[in-house]
């Protein structure tokens, strides 16, 4: 099928034994050498290694190769490696085609014979296709020197600060009225027991002090358009009914509110305390700007409030009941998603009695209860005010369970041990930890576990089956099979703490669609490669940090945020990026001007030229999906790198010999 002039080199990679164990690489190479147009066919242990690439480059020079085929791993892994190698040897990188004989062949099949046959088909198809490849030039796009960070938890804060320290313009968008995220609610952090607020709040105030960070709290991203280097982002800023620039955070308005006592559930304290309709989420909130909750404020409900808050604010005039939501738009070159997680709702595990028995708490509630700035001033008290004499902490609530989430949430063992230590320290209570497996992999984690065990915390290996009330008032009984004693035990306690696991936020799916990225099976955002590109996504210019990518602790979230910031910075500092040249183009003579393609393009990249009466592709806007190409009735619309002829040739060659 290949016309004269083809000088094709075929390279078969063993990938150690990854490919060679299942595919007969020698037979494959011999077969490739017999194909029309193939000048040289070789096998090599590791094609992606330097000697492997040298081999290919030498052959390009020595044999005057004008096309290359490499049968190795997935093109998602090494396509660029070989394109670069070809380019260095003077061959246009798009005169190369990669054959996936690892992920799609040797790793998924057991029969050596069938796998080798499949590899032969795929190599034959590639050899036929590659001859029709044409030299192409990559497109350059400029990178707008600003980054959007979505989510103001510790990951988002750290990413924003890292970028700001490098002098980059950063937009930090947070949904809540303050930044801080989950970490702001924690008491102490494992394994060093430093207080969460002490290490977090300096970073929070630093966000505010950087002139190149624009902080939009109480705001959400509602639209994202464009592509790497030029994302146009629309942010909806919810009205807080307080003018941010005028409020000084003196809290006189809160004091003056017509509600003399706080009356409404305080979200920051998990509803364990009360707040007023005008409030500051917590003392160290950033920004130090109060917010009015229109659901509970009398002025919003009846319009007949005395507005003592406005009076107290006086000349500052920061309170504005007529405030409307604002829409901000901005352009950024890269985006970091740090949208975090939510904890599993304990009512999903009904047999632990959360919401039924008053003294069953979630771990996050206990974090607030033992926190000095929490609702009880750091005194651990039951709902009736008693001090608990015994506490049972149940691990893996909503984790490692087919009925809820199958994954290990990674942090619960450690935070449960931390809570055990803190509860014992504060109350002297007898503390039981019920665990399936104790998972303490991390720097100084195992040591912390040993310390807690030595402190006399009772560690029971077994999954609690049931929580039910005891005979005497207020006691709860945990029924558990102690798998080390091989007996079923009933342990009475005053307080039960549920170590709820981490899961994707309820709206992770919508967020994912907004930013056009993918999710893993559990619903966390999908990274580009689990090992080698853990903060990148399949959408260029969008990076991940923190628990939106999967459960992780604070050190890992911070490390990942730093990595995401570095990746974004690399993009920004390069100033421009090369895009795949797989855009659509029109053969004008063939275009009948039917406009079929125009309506198909979701990016408005195809326009109808009124004067010429032909379709025209705006190359900058084209993302290269090829939908218009497939629809063109006259074959006038074409796609670089995915030409009709190339695909026909590939299909035909796959099937020839049938």
């Amino acid at each position: 099928m290949n016309p004269a002039g083809a000088r094709i080199g075929v390279y078969v990679c063993h990938c150690g034994t990854n490919i060679a164990a299942t595919v007969n690489v020698y037979a494959l190479t011999e077969y490739a050498a017999t194909l029309a147009g193939v000048v040289i066919a070789r096998e090599y242990k590791y094609m992606c290694s330097d000697p492997g690439q040298d081999l290919l480059q030498q052959d390009i020079r020595e044999y005057g190769l004008n096309r290359l085929v490499v049968a190795a791993c997935s093109p998602h892994l090494h396509e660029n490696t070989f394109r670069k190698a070809a380019e260095e040897a003077g061959l246009n990188p798009f005169l190369f085609h990669m054959v996936n004989v690892r992920e799609h062949d040797s790793w998924v099949h057991t029969s050596r014979e069938a796998a080798t046959e499949k590899a032969k088909d795929l190599v034959r198809a590639a050899v036929h296709r590659v001859f029709l490849n044409r030299p192409l030039e990559r497109r350059q796009v400029p990178i707008h020197p600003a980054v959007l960070v979505v989510g103001g938890g510790i990951a988002g804060i750290h990413a924003a600060l890292t970028l700001a320290a490098a002098g980059k313009r950063v937009y930090l968008v947070e949904r809540e009225p303050t930044i801080g995220g989950h970490m702001a609610r924690f008491d102490k952090t494992f394994p060093t027991l430093d207080c969460a607020a002490c290490i977090l709040t300096p970073k929070m105030t630093a966000v505010k002090s950087y002139p190149n960070i624009t902080l939009w709290t109480y705001s959400e991203v509602v639209a994202v358009e464009g592509f790497v280097g030029q994302y146009r982002v629309t942010v909806r800023r919810k009205p807080r009914y307080v003018i941010e620039d005028l409020c000084v955070g003196c809290l006189e308005c809160v004091e003056a509110c017509v509600f003399k006592q706080p009356k409404f559930a305080d979200e920051f304290n998990q509803g364990l305390s009360k707040r007023k309709p005008i409030y500051l989420p917590f003392p160290q909130a950033v920004p130090q700007v109060v917010v009015i909750d229109p659901e509970t404020c009398i002025e919003f409900k009846s319009g007949k409030c005395k507005k003592t808050c406005v009076e107290a604010c006086g000349d500052r005039q920061a309170i504005d009941f007529t405030q409307k939501e604002q829409i901000e738009t901005t352009e950024v070159g890269a985006i970091i998603l740090a949208t975090g997680f939510q904890t599993v709702h304990p009512r999903r595990i009904p047999y632990y009695g959360y919401g039924v028995y008053p003294n069953v708490y979630t771990a996050l509630e206990v974090e607030r209860l033992i926190n000095a700035s929490g609702p009880t001033g750091g005194e651990l008290r039951l709902r009736d005010g008693r001090k608990p004499r015994s506490v049972g902490i149940i691990h893996c609530v909503g984790s490692r369970d087919e009925h809820t989430n199958r994954w290990c949430s990674r942090v619960c063992c450690m935070y449960s041990l931390k809570l055990a230590h803190l509860i014992k320290e504060k109350t002297g209570a007898e503390v039981y930890n019920f665990y399936i497996d104790m998972r303490t992999p991390g720097k100084a984690f195992e040591e912390f576990y040993n310390r807690v065990a030595e402190e006399g915390v009772r560690l029971v290996r077994g999954k609690v089956a049931d929580v039910f009330p005891g005979e005497d008032n207020g006691t709860l009984i945990l029924r558990v099979e102690d798998t080390l004693l091989c007996q079923v035990r009933k342990i009475p306690v005053d307080m039960v703490v549920l170590a709820t696991g981490l899961e994707p936020k309820a709206d992770a799916e919508e967020v994912r669609r907004l930013f056009n990225i993918s999710c893993s099976a559990g619903g966390f955002f999908l990274e580009r490669h689990p090992k080698l590109a853990p903060v990148a996504t399949f959408t260029d210019g969008i990076f991940l940090a923190g628990c939106c990518q999967g459960p992780k602790d604070i050190p890992d979230s911070v490390a990942q945020a730093g990595a995401a910031a570095a990746e974004a910075m690399a993009l920004l500092d390069a100033g421009s990026m090369e895009l795949e040249p797989n855009t659509a183009y029109v053969i004008e003579e063939a275009c009948s001007g039917c406009k079929t393609c125009v309506g198909l393009c979701p990016f408005n990249a195809v326009v109808f030229h009124a004067h010429k009466r032909k379709a025209v592709v705006e190359e900058v806007l084209c993302k290269g999906c090829g939908t218009c190409v497939a629809a063109c009735p006259s074959g006038a619309m074409r796609q670089n790198l995915f030409e009709d002829e190339q695909i026909f040739e590939e299909v035909n060659a796959l099937l020839c010999g049938r």
């Binding site: 997935s74 099976a521 999906c625 190409v629």
Partner: protein, 157 residues
């Protein structure tokens, strides 16, 4: 013109290995197949993947051509509705699929031989299930032999 009896077709099929051409989109189904590889899931070796950027790129002619060249089945894999990397290419693929499937049926291509499946990058297991299922169904149908065009028959009294 004798029809092959079902029993003899079955015995002929036992040694028959169907060949299925699969058009997988770069962002979802191709990645699901990559993940199946890294996860070492085992599935039938009968599919041959052609990578396209989007399921919307699959021109009905590619499918017709594949059958004309002797494919026993054609599988198109794309992102789930709403998940397309290019926003809505998969909807265009779906639109074409329904029309094409009807056309193919009229040409004698049984529906089992032509499938469109939404398989996300995380659904390696689903990829395995779909491929294995399709290979078995096509195997049961036997090799694809295009039906001769129906003969015009004069109606006589």
């Amino acid at each position: 013109m004798s029809e092959t009896s079902p029993s003899s077709a079955e015995s002929a099929n036992s040694a028959f290995e169907p060949k299925i051409v699969a058009f997988f989109c770069n962002w979802c189904t191709y990645l699901a197949a990559d993940l199946a590889g890294t996860s070492r899931l085992r599935y039938a070796p009968n599919i041959r993947v052609v990578r396209v950027m989007c399921s919307g790129r699959v021109d009905p002619q590619f499918v017709l051509d594949a059958f004309a060249q002797g494919a026993d089945g054609v599988l198109i894999g794309g992102c789930h509705p709403g998940d397309c990397h290019y926003q809505e290419g998969n909807y265009k693929a779906l639109r074409r699929f329904h029309l094409l499937r009807r056309t193919l049926e009229q040409l004698g291509v049984e529906p089992e031989r032509f499938r469109l499946e939404w398989i996300s990058a995380a659904e390696a297991d689903r990829l395995r299930t779909v491929v294995n299922e399709m290979v078995e169904q096509v195997r049961a149908r036997g090799p694809f032999r295009p039906k001769a065009a129906p003969q015009f028959q004069e109606v006589t009294a």
